[in-house]
Every structure is written in C-alpha cells, then in structure tokens.
Symmetry: C2
Subunit: 229 residues, 2 copies
DNA sequence: ATATAGTGTGTAATTTTTACACTAAGTAAT
DNA sequence: ATTACTTAGTGTAAAAATTACACACTATAT
C-alpha cells in the first residue's frame, strides 16, 4: 500500500558480507566499531541508504567507500528487520554479499572513518559480531553455498587467470567439502564456460599448471540453461 | 553502519504476491486502487511496516487484513528501492510471496478499505499494474519457479488431501511446461514425503484417484538433503 | 641424478533421467 | 447390462550423468 506516505522514523541501511579469497582461505571483511553501541566489537561494514540512490547503487557506493573497489558482483539477499535488532531504534537493513579476490598486488584503500579499523578475518575463526550480524553472515554464507552451485560466481574470487586446482579449492572452501579432482574437472570443463590459455602458472616449484579464464561470451550463450554442481 | 540514527523521510512497505490455485488456474490477488497515484489501476496488495513489527509479522498481518488468512507460508524474496518507483516520495518495498489454496469452501474475508475491490486474476491474463508491480510480480514468479524445484511448496497450493494428477498440474502451471506423468510420479514418490491415504477422490464422473497427503514428519527427516526437479 | 610436489588423465560400475503406450476402473447414458 | 467415455495407474529399455578410483608425467630444487 503506497498511496499514503506518512513520515516515519525508520532508518534503512545496507550491510555487506564481503567474501574474500587470498588463494588459501575464505575471509570476510569486518570493521571494529569505534562508537556505542557495540563499541570495540567487530561488525559487518554497512551504511545508510541515500535518499536518491537505488539500492544497488547504494551497495556499490558503500563497497567503494569501504574498500576502494568498483565493478564487483554484488547481490542483495535478505532484509533483516527485527524491531529490536538495533538498541537505539528501528533500523531495517538489507544484506548484500560480494565476492572479492584478495590480491597481494593492490591493497584495499583505507576505509571511511566510522571504524577504528577494518580487517579480513578467516571465516573459520570469527569473533563475536555486533547486532544481529552473525545471523546476517550465516545467511550470506548459506546463500553463496547455494548460488555457487548454479551460477558462475566462483570466478569472482579468483584472479583473471587461474588454474583448475585453484578453482576447485574455491568450491571446496565454499561448499565445505572435498571434491574429486577428476570429476570436478570433467564437470567444470563440460559446462563450456572456461577458456584454456596457452599460458602456464609461474613461480611454483613444481610442474606448472595450465591457466584458464572464465569466458563471459560462452556463458552469455548458456544463459537460461541451468548449471548444476 | 548503524551507530548514527538520523531521522530520514523514508517509508518502508511490504508488497505481497499472493499466488492462488483454484484447481484449474494459477491466479494472483490484485486490488483496484481507489486513490491517486494510479487511481483505478490494479496493484499488488501491500502496506506499510509498523513500528513494532518484525518484517515477517508485518507480512502476516498484511495478508490477514487483506484476505482473512492466517498460518500461510510466506517468504520475502526481494527489496525494490528505486528512488523513482513511487511518484510521491521514496518508498522502499520488500516483496513477499505466499501460496494459497483457493477453496470454493471458505471465501476470503473482505479486504481493508484502501481499495475499491480485490480480485483473483489468472496470471495468464494480467492487466497493467501500478508502480513497478509488474517487475515485482515477475521476480516473484521467477522465484517460485526456482523454489518449487527444491522445496515442498507446491502443497501449499493444494487442499490437504490431493491426487497426484492435481500435484502434477500445479508443477506444470508454475514451471510453465508439461511433465511426463509416469516420470513425475516416480520422482515425487521417490522423495518419500507423500503419504498415500486409504481414501479416494469423490464427486468425479470417472475413476476416482487415490488421495495423498504431504507428510511433514518425513520431510523434516529429509531436511538438509536436496530435493530436485 | 634424485627427491619432491602437484598436474593431468580414463574407465567401469552405478544411478538417474528420459521417452514412450496400454490396460484398469469407475461413471453416465442408453 | 451393454456401451461409451474419461481419467488412473503402471514398466521398461536406452541414454546420460554420476561416482569411485590410481598412476605416470613434468617441472623444480638440491
């Protein structure tokens, strides 16, 4: 019902679960709060939606302000609106997730000022989180577990060129289980969205693996068809 | 970011896509607006979230006010927040869907007063909708298409006791394609969430089909495992 | 030369999916 | 009671997908 527009004291925010992969571990970006409530607690980065922004724009802006990153695949996945979730008033928050490759190369830009600091923390060992952020994170992880089975989002966590072993590693971390190497390769190659390059991995002290790239064109052609892990 | 709580003039609403099944067609509930903007247009039923309600509570209340129904499976699925989606100001809306069996038996209670009338309209022949409600509906249909493949939501559209043919019919309508009778039965029975009853269908002028019931207990045991169509 | 560590590959068994058509059972009309 | 009608209910064979499983190859480091 939208024909009546009372002015309500409600605040609408966006919180982001930024999943990062450094080649070894899955991490999420957390900030250490510098203000009450939950001063000194770790929390998900978030912010308030601006009056003239679309939700997606707002999420992108927030990501940018916090990390300096642009052009990242982000998706809203759930709205949290328990009336008591924020001790100081009604705040409805919309959760987004993003998947980010953590390169040793470019470091994240220092974040905006509302936090003492920000850190990428491994999801295997998270601290207690402020507000209902544990719930938001849990649901986000659940979401990407589901989504990685059907959509090509794993590539967002990897550099442009990657090996099949690295790709398998990402799947194993997100899904939380081991996969069979031969079967994994058979399947992922059969989807036909990978382009095998003429290049090899560098800087390893063993046989270098072939590099692959995610082929957006091929994927575009598939669209509509279901990928399934 | 939630430590600062400015008072913003933003309105937060919930809109519902209520899918109904009368044994023949899939329908959605629409109301005919009695006020500007979009006076005389058809729109999705919705309302503003109350200050002390959780989102799910709010959705349930709205459903109840509009239909008299309680205890219906409802799920939020997307937030729409384009700054221009409402001509009179910023309204962020959270979309829920619900699945409802339309019985000839109990009729829906008359709805609250903000609309001229409410009607169940077949999804195959929808009028132009107010605001961005077409987009909201489209996304809702997409959502239940996906969900019906993995979750036992089809049963919500059927009476407690139903035949396999009726169940298949629901799947066909939602998925928008014909299914093979034998394969459908084989698969749906193999999930082990149906209880075959000793009863037969009544009032048909041909061989009566066996009735089945959705077995919540068996389903609870399955939980975690993936159902897949 | 040798040790080391990860790459890359094939096959057989099993399970799942698909395509497909007729008989059985009940009702209605004569 | 016969007949016509309508939907219920069932099986199988072929194809495709999934699973389980092990070893030789290659590059590097010493």
């Amino acid at each position: 019902m939208e024909q009546i527009l009372p002015h309500l004291d409600s605040v609408f925010s966006i919180d982001c679960v930024l999943f990062g992969f450094d080649g070894k571990e899955l991490k999420i970006l957390l900030i250490e709060r510098n203000e009450e409530p939950f001063k000194d607690w770790w929390a998900l980065p978030g912010n308030i939606v601006g009056a003239d922004e679309s939700l997606d724009q707002s999420a992108s802006r927030i990501l940018y302000e916090l990390t300096g990153l642009r052009g990242i695949y982000m998706e809203q996945y759930y709205a949290f609106g328990d009336p008591n979730r924020h001790p100081q008033g009604r705040v409805i928050t919309l959760a987004y997730y993003a998947l980010i490759r953590l390169g040793g190369d470019k470091e994240l830009r220092p974040i905006s000022t509302y936090a003492k600091r920000a850190n990428w923390l491994p999801i295997t060992d998270l601290p207690k989180l402020a507000f209902d952020h544990q719930k938001i994170y849990d649901k986000g992880l659940e979401k990407i577990k589901r989504r990685i089975k059907h959509q090509p989002i794993a590539f967002e966590l990897l550099p442009e060129k990657f090996t099949l072993t690295q790709l398998q590693h990402v799947y194993e971390l997100v899904l939380g289980k081991k996969l069979d190497k031969r079967n994994f390769r058979k399947k992922i190659v059969s989807f036909g969205v990978l382009k095998e390059l003429d290049e090899k991995q560098k800087g390893v002290s063993y046989r270098a693996a072939t590099l692959y790239r995610f082929d957006k064109r091929k994927y575009a052609k598939l669209f509509g068809k279901e990928i399934s892990f």
